[in-house]
Structure formats: C-alpha cells, structure tokens
C-alpha cells in the first residue's frame, strides 16, 4: 500500500477492463470442475477411503476447485488488486480461525 501502488491504482483501473477470461477458459474450467468432482466422489467409493491420505487428498481437490472458480469465474485473476486483497485477506483470517478452532477442540492431531 505504498504511494507507488496506490498511484498506479488509477491507471490500472482503466487497463482493468481489457484483459478478461475467455469463452475457452470458461469451458475448460467447467470441465475441470466436473472432473475433480467426479474423482472426489469416485475415491469415496474406493478402499482409498480408509487411507489416512483420503482426507488430505480431498482437501487438496476441493481447494483446487475453489481456487479456479475464484480466479476465473470470479475473474479475480484479472481484476483489480484491491479485490484480490479484500478476498484473500478475509479468506486467510477465516481459514486460520477455522484451523485454530479445530486445534482447540482437539480435532487436529498436533499438540
């Protein structure tokens, strides 16, 4: 948030509308979302479900879905840096709080 970045804010704003996710990307994203979901449900019915890696694997997959939707459908990747900060910042505190609570209620293995 230095003078520099803030000043550029104005110019960025104009550039802002040029770059934009495209038709193709939209469809790819949709495809990926479908695929990952399919995999998620599939592993649920495999013996892998009993594995200790099951939960982490699922978390990674849904995190991936989460990210691409936010980046492309919510075009955060292309949008103004302010929006990025607003969202990422909030999300960080929210998830950190969630994990802290899991720890405090002994839902995490650590500690």
């Amino acid at each position: 948030m230095s003078d520099h970045t803030a000043a550029t804010a104005v110019d960025r704003a104009h550039a802002d509308h040029h770059e934009h996710p495209t038709w193709k990307q939209y469809k790819w994203v949709a495809l990926w979302l479908t695929l990952i979901t399919a995999v998620e449900v599939w592993v649920y019915y495999t013996p892998f479900r009993e594995s200790s890696l099951f939960a982490p694997a699922l978390l990674v997959m849904s995190a991936a879905k989460f990210t691409i939707v936010v980046m492309f459908y919510m075009h955060l990747k292309y949008d103004h840096w302010i929006f990025r900060r607003l969202f990422v910042g909030s999300l960080f505190i929210a998830t950190a709080t969630l994990f802290a609570l899991m720890f405090l209620f002994h839902k995490l293995k650590i500690g």
Partner: protein
C-alpha cells in the same frame, strides 16, 4: 445484505454528464462493497463449518452422518451387519444419513450453474454485438438457466431434508442434526436469495434488456455473489459429505 450490493443509483456511477462523481480507483462502489461482503461471508461460513466439525461425533444419539446406528441402543457400526451383530434388532437399524449419490448430483448442478452465470455475464457484456443475438448466446437464456439450476439445487436440498426427517433426523434430534441443518440451511438460504436476485435481473432483462456499463455491473455483482455461494458449497461438499 443484498441491499449493500443492490443499492442502485447510489453515488459512484457515471451518467451525470459533467457531474460525474470522481472515484479514486475508477472502480464501482458496489463492486467494492460486494467483495467486502464476500470477505465477511467467509468468516460467517467458517464459523458455521467449524461448529459442524466441532460437534462431529459428539452426538449422544443417532442417526449419524456416515455410520449405521440403532434406534434402541447407541451402537455404531460401519455396516448394517456390524450393528445387528452388536445386538440391534433389524427393525431398529438406522442407516447413515448422508446420501452421497444424490448430493453429488446437486453439487454438479450447482457447479454448472456457475458456468451458466459467467455465460450470462458474457451475454450482457456483448449485448447487441454480432453473434450474441442468438438466443443460446444471450443473457436472458443463461440468466434463466442459472436461476433454474439454482432452483434445482434447492429442490435437491428440500428432497434431502425431507428424507432426513423421515429417517428421524431433525434440528432437535441431536447435535449433528442441529449443526447440519443450520449449516446447509444457511447455505440454502443464500442460494434462494441468489435465485430471487437472478430472477429480478431476468425480469429487468425481459423488460428493457440488459446492456451497457451499469448493467454489466448489475449482473457482475450478482455473479460474484453466486459464484461465492458456489465455492462455499464446494467446501461444504468435501468437508461435510465426503470426509468422515
């Protein structure tokens, strides 16, 4: 809540000719507000999800999310046989509440509604441009599709809820029931608000057609909200339904 985002005509949009309101960033007020709102919603759902996870496995009585239970005793098992072996009469066996196949379908529908949403936005952005006059490229069609898929998701959810109630799980059955219905209920309410919002947009589109900078914004903020509700479900589906 939506008020903040919908507070149309409030300061900040061009169109007053030489009285155009100066904005520092060149961004739209309402778009900043909706992102702030989404940030806030992150914390809202974090609290709800935490609660569900904290109470997971704390319920005193069944039914349980992933395990077989017994109406008369508190035995829990991975299979019906296990429960019966533990001395539960076949009639009293309670099956796991969560219905993965059905929820997978509703999840898929909601995901696809996000695709429809971006296409609707695309439609408004290019309204009037060559190629976008075709019905299957226009905003009306995709707005309608998004709303329909949202409604479908709600349909699935009400089916889910009613079947749970039949299987003996209500908000006052056990901690699982309370936290599950509250969490998914909050999400469902968000979807419902979104559907109404979409229908309002569709209505405007029908009436005067959505086009131009201000209308793009109008659809954009709704889209952001809609996608967020979608990503929240992505998290819920994994954390609540799949992981045990």
């Amino acid at each position: 809540m939506a008020t903040a985002a919908l507070d149309t005509h409030d300061a900040g949009h061009a169109g007053h000719g030489e009285h155009a309101h100066y904005t520092t960033t060149g961004l739209e007020h309402r778009k900043i507000a909706i992102w702030a709102l989404i940030g806030s919603e992150c914390m809202l759902f974090a609290s709800l999800i935490s609660t569900y996870l904290v109470y997971k496995g704390r319920s005193k009585v069944g039914p349980w999310p992933h395990d077989w239970g017994c109406k008369t005793s508190n035995v829990i098992g991975k299979t019906a046989e296990a429960v019966q072996a533990a001395g539960c009469a076949a009639a009293d066996v309670m099956k796991p509440i969560l219905d993965i196949p059905v929820t997978s379908q509703s999840t898929f529908v909601l995901l696809m509604s996000s695709l429809a949403m971006v296409l609707a936005l695309e439609g408004v952005e290019n309204a009037g441009k060559a190629g976008y006059d075709k019905w299957y490229k226009g905003s009306k069609f995709w707005l309608a599709m998004t709303a329909v898929m949202g409604a479908t998701f709600l349909g699935y959810q009400s089916y889910e809820f009613t079947s749970f109630v039949h299987e003996g799980l209500t908000i006052d059955t056990n901690l699982f029931g309370s936290s599950f219905f509250t969490l998914t209920g909050f999400h469902g309410t968000h979807v419902a608000v979104g559907v109404l919002w979409l229908m309002t947009l569709l209505f405007i589109d029908m009436k005067r057609g959505l086009k131009g900078k201000t209308d793009v914004l109008l659809v954009d903020i709704c889209a952001l909200y809609w996608h967020f509700v979608d990503v929240v479900w992505i998290a819920i589906f994994t954390l609540i339904y799949l992981i045990q």
